[in-house]
């Protein structure tokens, strides 16, 4: 495979974007999980799907959209969905989590309509759903690199505000930090990372890459920084392992990556049981 990577551009694209996504998806995932917003990733990925389907549909009628990478439209929809979730959260003050299923179903509905308008599933759409190694273009890779640089830099710069907001929202507001703006920046980052990840893992599995490594890490980590570190390591292990296996066994990469993440999760749960069992 190493020789394949050296030889084929599409494999280089897939591996580099995999390595990047394996780190940034769980990085944001930690904040999503501890804030109990795990379903937001699902909602936004379905909105992204609607955007991609819309782009493919429009591509039939306009050469502009035919030439446009559907990822951009997916990204626009995803950020729009994130903004809508925020608006809805202020409308339903006491049922903030309601915003997520509303956007989720809206996304699926819109997506299905555009898919049927675009004459059903074609292979292109299929690759967005489940991820594909061969589908990542150089342009995709560059988009992913730019998004990741933005995300990592932002998280480093506003880390302490993000932490405070995640740990104790009321206290964060009482201390007078710009809680609203910070939350908004955060949710836009989530939307961008979801759109960026879908080429590899596929829309249906994006949220798993954001939550499963965190679920494993949270079992064994001590402190927040360690939780982030372990999550990124687990995410990276899942992506790399998944890509290798899927390449050799000719499996869908998205599914393989997620199954490795599940395996890691099971192992950490067992390990924790074993360790605490011995301590008793």
């Amino acid at each position: 495979m190493i020789s394949g990577i050296l030889q084929y551009e599409f494999l280089q694209n897939a591996f580099l974007s995999g390595i990047i996504i394996g780190a940034i998806a769980p990085l944001l995932g930690v904040f999503i999980v501890v804030r109990r917003l795990s379903l937001i990733a699902d909602a936004l990925s379905h909105v992204t799907l609607a955007g991609i389907a819309a782009s493919l549909f429009l591509g039939k009628y306009s050469t502009f959209f035919l030439g446009l990478n559907p990822m951009y439209m997916g990204m626009a929809f995803s950020v729009g969905g994130a903004v809508l979730i925020e608006k809805l959260r202020t409308v339903y003050k006491h049922y903030q989590e309601l915003a997520i299923p509303i956007i989720l179903s809206g996304g699926i509905g819109l997506g299905v309509i555009f898919i049927s308008l675009a004459d059903g599933f074609n292979t292109d759409l299929f690759s967005y759903l489940f991820g594909s190694v061969s589908a990542v273009s150089r342009a995709d890779l560059w988009t992913i690199i730019i998004i990741s640089l933005f995300v990592v830099l932002t998280v480093v710069l506003i880390y302490k505000e993000l932490f405070l907001l995640s740990f104790d929202e009321e206290y964060a507001k009482a201390t007078g930090i710009a809680a609203k703006s910070i939350h908004f920046i955060f949710i836009v980052m989530v939307a961008l990372v979801i759109a960026a990840s879908m080429r590899i893992v596929g829309i249906l599995l994006v949220s798993s890459l954001m939550t499963l490594p965190v679920a494993a890490s949270i079992r064994i980590a001590r402190g927040f920084k360690q939780t982030i570190l372990f999550s990124v390591i687990f995410g990276e292990a899942s992506v790399l392992g998944g890509l290798f296996l899927s390449y050799y066994l000719d499996l869908a990469p998205g599914g393989t990556i997620v199954m490795i993440a599940v395996l890691i999760l099971i192992l950490t749960v067992l390990l924790k049981k074993l360790v605490s069992g011995r301590a008793v």
Partner: protein, 258 residues
């Protein structure tokens, strides 16, 4: 002895969440160096009053000044430390160490795009020691008992070296022995010049520690020094409250605001 500068000034505050007023015409001045105990039955608006002072909600009528400044222009929130009533109901699975939680109390004081420096780290360790939690510094907060968690939240409020410390029933879930030492700690803090605002149900335990007492039940029924309060208490607690309430029992929830 005491500087008479008011740290908090409430003028004719009215507040309602829905239709009914929760606070009615509340005016209150808290002077620098005071230790004010606010008492009142469940649902009497104590937590609401604190939320107004913290700027989490805005009054429909009336004005609030903090450190002599209109609340909407007030930006020095690091001068105020806050321990909320619900500190015990935070997400207990949150993977953060005691150190990380206390450090988060410096967020506003440090400002955006700043990182912890050596002297900040020393300060964090020092304040953790001062609440007696040094041996738990690297434990996850969820692995501590309720009373220990409460100490951590007090350390978080103290780490930015506030001039005003606001506490909303901080002793809920803390055992009797620790409640006593907790109040002693507050007294010490007050002695060092920090102004304290403490909401509690436990009038008896604090009346010898506080300098002032305020009794709240929608309106402010009493506000005076603790010795004035003791005199009034002899005349009967229900008179102080405006109507008959069971101050020391926590069960009488209903009725309190009907």
């Amino acid at each position: 002895m005491k500087n008479n500068l008011p740290i908090i000034e409430l003028n004719h505050i009215y507040y309602r969440y829905d239709r009914e007023n929760v606070l009615e015409d509340v005016s209150l001045r808290i002077e620098k160096g005071a230790f004010l105990g606010i008492v009142g039955p469940n649902g009497s608006g104590k937590s609401t009053l604190l939320k107004l002072i913290l700027g989490l909600i805005k009054p429909q009528k009336g004005t609030i000044k903090l450190f002599g400044e209109e609340i909407k222009h007030f930006r020095d929130q690091q001068k105020i430390g806050f321990v909320s009533q619900k500190a015990n109901s935070f997400n207990s699975g949150f993977p953060a160490t005691v150190y990380e939680v206390v450090a988060s109390g410096l967020t506003k004081k440090m400002g955006l795009f700043r990182f912890l420096r050596k002297q900040d780290e020393d300060k964090i360790v020092k304040v953790i020691k001062s609440v007696g939690m040094q041996q738990f510094m690297n434990r996850n907060i969820g692995e501590l008992s309720g009373g220990q968690q409460q100490r951590v939240f007090i350390a978080r409020a103290l780490v930015s070296e506030p001039e005003l410390l606001i506490l909303d029933e901080p002793t809920v879930g803390v055992d009797a022995e620790n409640v006593q030492s907790f109040y002693e700690m507050l007294e010490d803090l007050n002695q060092t010049g920090i102004t304290l605002l403490l909401v509690t149900h436990d009038i008896g335990a604090i009346s010898d520690k506080v300098t002032n007492v305020a009794c709240l039940n929608k309106g402010l029924f009493f506000h005076g020094t603790s010795s004035e309060f003791e005199e009034q208490k002899i005349k009967g607690i229900s008179e102080i409250y405006g109507h008959d309430v069971h101050l020391l029992s926590h069960e009488h929830h209903e009725g309190a605001h009907t």
